[in-house]
Amino acid sequence: MMKNNIGKNILFAGVGGQGILLISELTARAAIHTDFDVKKTEVHGAAQRGGSVVSHVRFAEKVYSPISKTGEVDILLSLEKLEGLRWAHYVKDGGIILLNNEERSPQPMTEKKVEYPQNIEEFLSSKGYNVQIIDAVSMASAMGNYRAANTILLGAMASHTGIDDEHWFAVMKENLNPKILELNLQAFEMGKKLSQKVLSVA
């Protein structure tokens, strides 16, 4: 049952089509599995792909708004670095920011009108956040399937949520295709190990 009744606000960020919807859905379901009240919502532009997308997941004993306030998010997991920077102001002081080591140039950059910001990790660390860069794609490729990258990131995020492993496993079993379940369970474990490197937060 409930290990920690404080609850968490989590924000997932990335580029449309990267798979944010699936990992935020798994997170919301893991929270419901522990008997928390849960709300979740995606915010993105037009229905097409390739734009900036975030998904809020909030769980606690009682949740009202599906959208978190700025400065109240406990953990931001961004599947793309620039998107992590774009949404970082939602994270509370000293909160955790996990960045997938992936850079995708937005279309205006292809027109060479703007540049991809440099030193995103340093910038965010200088703001007092707990930042970790995760090389999920190369790790997943080393495992034999680059598509498992998001599950590695999910594992890294999961260990900061206070939700027990049994709930995550149950939810993955219920929601993932059995053919890729074993791979994803391994990827999840691998992600969890990474998180030990991040300082524990208050």
Binding site: A47, G50, K69, T70, H89, T110
Partner: protein
């Protein structure tokens, strides 16, 4: 099955409609309403259809109600504009089986061409409107809406916003109440409105009075007494935002926002020092409250609403907090570090890119309407001059032609998607032929309703449940309308597309070019083997011509463009543009 489920508002509405025992559900896809019909289609005991447009959907569902069945019609906010002609008459004729109209509004215009507050339609048509604030309520309110519809012999609006439609929260299921439809009753004095309309007119006012009384004791209009310093009057998702910001305030949460419970409002306002009306978009509740002449303990109404809130876009807990406390939102870091925007883009290999590349090259004036192809307005194509609403582009083009026929006639193109063409593109095309226009129409047939997530339509040969059905033959249809010049091209074949366009534009008669290639996101297309391309650095002259196809798989931010192997689908368009043979399929 676990009794507690995490459902979106739309999934919950579908469940609620099923629990209410509906027999027929109709709709036309439109964000944020689309998933209601998609989820209803999973229940075998309901007759569910994607209709050709919202007015058709409305008329079919209403027909089912007249026949004695509970029925539902679902659409996005602008869909109600399309169905309005029918909607405005139904309060006169009333219902037989319960009839619920879902309007999914989109404050913030996340995927809409305008922002409109459809609460005004409830007042306009004098029919009740319920507004849920989360998924559990969404499910319950559908059932309540059917009861009210039958009790008062009236169509009932259920209004959601993007945030209630698309956010997920916990829902508990109940049993379904399934009863057979009632018998059909021949009743022309009720349903043949023009002839007996005057008598029906009085019914509407009498019914409204009764519904106002009903609102006073309606259990979903709820008062939560807490501190008497602040009293919040609100509904829908704004209730959730305000609860977050004012946990200690008293609340009057309106489950029904039209008609309003006057006595209840008076009683509530009388009990609190200061009133906050928290509502998105227009001052709908605030205006009605002022009109009702409600007062505070000290006489005049001590109320804050749209004086502190904007009437534009979505609210959020941040905005609600800021409006009343002045505590600002935490700002993003873009004043310290440049954060480039990331607008949505067409998909790698999108068939529309070929068409837009050609139109841009031919420097045509292009009128369009609603679909993925609206992105043709952005760089690198800059190929779209107008986008107003479903089906508008063809009529707009013809209007332009009337003014500048000699010059523009040779350069005027209306583009329209296949789903949109069937929704409302046929009538304006008939108009062009009938009134002797010469405008060229490009029918961008990607064999699906792309923008809303690939719903079935009458050109696809599949119903909402993927059963086989007749697939419209566009060439025959367009020819029957009276267009003589019809050409079909593959938009991946840039040369053929250009030739067909030039040929059509040179004519002194209406012409239709059908650009035919399936959307790359359709499962059948994704399942095909893709051979990605690469740029050979030693051959590349860094001319950037390949970037003109606007493919997001090509990163052009460096001198030599780089193609992402994972994202390229091997459409060959960029390679066709390169004059130096520097783009090739990766050898397997």
């Amino acid at each position: 099955m676990n009794s507690k489920q995490l459902l979106s508002g739309n999934e919950a509405i579908a469940r609620g409609a099923w629990e209410a025992g509906i027999h027929v559900a109709c709709g036309y896809p439109g964000t944020p309403s689309t998933e209601i019909i998609e989820n209803l289609a999973r229940y075998d005991d309901i007759d569910v259809e994607w209709s050709t447009n919202e007015k058709v959907a409305f008329d079919v569902a209403y027909g089912a109600s007249l026949a004695g069945a509970r029925s539902l019609v679902s659409m996005k906010h602008v869909g109600v504009n399309v169905a309005l002609d029918s909607l405005m008459v139904t309060p006169f004729s009333g219902v037989h089986g319960g009839f619920v109209v879902i309007t999914a509004d989109d404050p913030g215009m996340h995927s809409s061409q305008n922002e409109q507050d459809n609460r005004f339609f409830a007042k306009f048509a004098k029919i009740p409107m319920l507004e849920p604030s989360d998924s559990q309520e969404a499910k319950e309110f559908v059932k309540i809406a059917f009861d009210i519809s039958e009790q008062f012999d009236v169509p009932v609006f259920l209004r959601t916003t993007t945030r209630t439609s698309h956010s997920k929260s916990v829902v508990e299921f109940s049993e379904a109440k399934r009863t057979p439809p009632q018998k059909y009753k021949h009743d022309p004095q009720k349903y043949v409105v023009p002839i007996w309309g005057k008598r029906r007119r009085q019914n509407i006012e009498m019914r409204l009075k009764k519904m106002e009384e009903f609102a006073e004791t309606f259990p979903e209009n709820k008062i939560e007494w807490n501190s008497k310093k602040i009293g919040v009057i609100t509904s829908g998702i704004c209730y959730q935002y305000a609860k977050e910001v004012f946990p200690d305030a008293s609340f009057l949460k309106l489950g029904m926002i039209f008609p309003l419970p006057k006595k209840m409002l008076e009683w509530f306002c009388d009990g609190v020092e200061k009133i906050y009306v928290v509502e998105e978009l227009e001052p709908f509740l605030e205006e009605q409250l002022r009109l009702l002449g409600v007062k505070n303990p000290f006489g005049s109404l001590n109320l804050s609403g749209k004086d502190v809130f904007t009437n534009m876009f979505e609210l959020s807990p941040d905005i609600v907090q800021h409006a009343f406390s002045g505590n600002g939102e935490k700002k993003s870091f873009d004043n310290e570090i440049a954060i480039p925007p990331r607008p949505p883009v067409m998909c790698p290999g999108c068939p529309h890119s070929g068409v837009y590349f050609v139109l841009h090259k031919l420097k045509t004036v292009v009128t369009g309407d609603i679909g993925c192809y609206t992105l043709g307005a952005l760089p690198p194509f800059n190929a779209l001059d107008t986008t107003l609403c479903m089906g508008a582009g063809i009529g707009n083009a013809f209007g332009m032609e009337k003014v500048h026929r000699a010059t523009m006639g040779k350069k005027l193109v209306a583009v329209i998607g296949d789903s949109t063409f069937l929704h409302s593109g046929i009538a304006p095309l008939i108009d062009i032929v009938f009134n002797k226009g010469i405008t060229t129409v490009v029918l961008m047939d990607n064999s699906t309703t792309g923008m809303t997530g690939h719903q079935q339509h009458p050109g696809m040969g599949k119903t909402v449940r993927l059963e086989n059905t007749y697939a419209i033959n566009y060439e025959q249809l367009i020819s029957a309308i009276g267009v003589k010049h019809i050409r079909v091209v593959d938009p991946y074949d840039l040369e053929a597309t250009e030739t067909a366009m030039k040929e059509a534009l040179a004519l002194n008669e209406p012409a239709v070019v059908i650009s035919r290639r399936a959307c790359v996101l359709l499962e059948e297309e994704k399942a095909k083997t893709h051979y990605p391309y690469e740029v050979l650095g030693e051959l590349c002259e860094e001319c950037d011509l390949c970037l003109k196809i606007g493919c997001p798989a090509i990163d052009g931010s460096q001198a030599v463009p780089f193609i992402s192997k994972e994202r390229c689908i091997g459409c060959d368009l960029c390679a066709k543009l390169c004059n130096f043979d520097a783009i090739r399929m990766i050898e397997n």
